[in-house]
């Protein structure tokens, strides 16, 4: 069955990350994971760190999407991401280091704001590691 397509744009500060058509888009927002099909109601949501999936037929593209927000406008989805990377762009070594650093900071636990940031960093690094490992096999 030929699904209806819609345009997806992922824009980072440094570059246009992705611009193309998709049947379905999956991403994680602060309110939970959502799947977007063509003709979705207009929605603006804040992104929380997770894996984004752009599905077009048999082709599934995955990317680590960390921060930003998404604007869904009927036949067009614009994701403004502060950082976003394809699996082959992820530096696993760096992610591992970030994970250890964040874990240490969480253990020492000083100050509420720092804890939040460390937790966020930990989540980001875990996503990076997971995704990179999945694709390195």
């Amino acid at each position: 069955m030929a699904e209806k397509l819609f345009n997806v744009q992922v824009i980072c500060p440094e570059r246009q990350f992705f611009n193309g058509d998709a049947e379905m888009l999956e991403l994680k927002t602060t309110e939970g994971e959502i799947g977007v099909l063509a003709g979705h109601i207009p929605l603006t949501a804040v992104i929380s760190p997770g894996v984004m999936r752009i599905i077009n037929g048999d082709e599934v593209k995955e990317a680590a999407l960390h921060d930003g927000f998404v604007e869904i406008l009927g036949d067009k989805v614009v994701i403004l991401a502060e950082s976003c990377e394809w699996p082959d762009e992820i530096d696993v070594h760096r992610a591992e280091e970030a994970k250890i650093r964040a874990e240490r900071r969480l253990k020492s636990g000083d100050g509420e704001i720092d804890e939040m940031r460390a937790e966020l960093a930990l989540r980001k690094s875990l996503i990076r590691i997971d995704l990179a490992q999945k694709y390195s096999k």
Partner: protein
């Protein structure tokens, strides 16, 4: 008239200066190309971000948020983007002039300096320099912009400053760079142009979480984005300005060399003539 040797020495020194300026011009041309593509690639992000905030504000009408109405403090934070190195013509001076010749009294300004040249000049003039991010200017990254953004937003939410500005140079094209002072906070929405179509879209828009919360998340991102955009553009402008300055310097050196060559040849000619006259005079004296 200067002696032949003096002229020759001066010509030599100008020639080597000309070579240096020519090399610097080539270097900044290459850097400019890179900076230009960076600046162009980063543009869509900010345009979208700006549009998104505008639509959000129009839809939600009168959200009262400190980031929209401004703080109570009279102080103003200004992020001043200049270069770390000189020899860029009026590039740095023009940005500094925005502050010194601007309407904001000196006592109310807190400077967040990016770029050593601007920082040094403003410090000498007695401005309050709160922070120095000069390292950033060597190669602007988004994370650097985010760090600066966090610092100014902290000052804003502590009510240390009531408004946030950024002074930088817009990169219009290779030859036109416009120094500007832009207000970042409180956010000023764009003028409504074609209200009909956008208003229609707006009524349909849903927010998750609520619009206020989304806005609270997006405004800091907008600030960071603006700062990053300013850094990238300023970097391009810096190299453009340096390229122009060095081009002028090289041209001037060439002009001076041409002038000196003429003088040198004249001096040479007159010395030959003089020698000849002396020989002829000597010969006629013997006869």
């Amino acid at each position: 008239m200067a002696s032949m040797r003096d002229i020759k020495r001066r010509k030599g020194s100008i020639q080597s200066t000309g070579q240096i300026t020519k090399a610097m011009k080539l270097v900044s041309t290459v850097k400019l190309q890179k900076a230009k593509t960076n600046a162009e690639e980063s543009k869509p992000y900010f345009e979208h971000l700006y549009d998104a905030i505008n639509t959000m504000l129009k839809k939600s009408g009168n959200i009262s948020h400190p980031m929209l109405s401004g703080g109570t403090s009279k102080k103003k934070a200004i992020i001043v983007v200049t270069s770390n190195r000189g020899l860029a013509g009026g590039y740095n001076a023009n940005v500094v002039k925005l502050l010194t010749k601007g309407d904001i009294p000196k006592e109310d300004i807190i400077v967040y300096a990016v770029g050593r040249k601007g920082k040094d000049t403003l410090a000498r003039l007695g401005y309050d320099i709160r922070a120095d991010y000069s390292e950033v200017m060597n190669a602007p990254l988004y994370s650097d912009a985010a760090e600066i953004g966090r610092a100014v937003l902290d000052a804003f939410s502590n009510d240390e400053v009531g408004e946030i500005y950024i002074a930088y140079t817009i990169f219009k094209n290779t030859v036109v760079h416009i120094p500007t002072l832009t207000k970042l906070l409180p956010f000023t929405p764009a003028e409504e142009k074609d209200g009909e179509t956008s208003a229609e879209q707006l009524t349909l828009m849903n927010y998750e979480p609520a619009a206020e919360e989304v806005l609270e998340q997006i405004i800091p991102k907008y600030i960071n984005g603006q700062i990053f955009g300013a850094l990238v553009e300023a970097f391009a402008s810096e190299n453009g300005a340096r390229m122009q300055a060095m081009d002028n310097a090289t041209n001037n050196a060439e002009d001076m060399i041409a002038d000196l060559s003429l003088k040198y040849n004249r001096a040479r000619q007159s010395s030959i003539t003089q020698e000849l006259t002396e020989i002829v005079a000597g010969a006629s004296a013997i006869n």
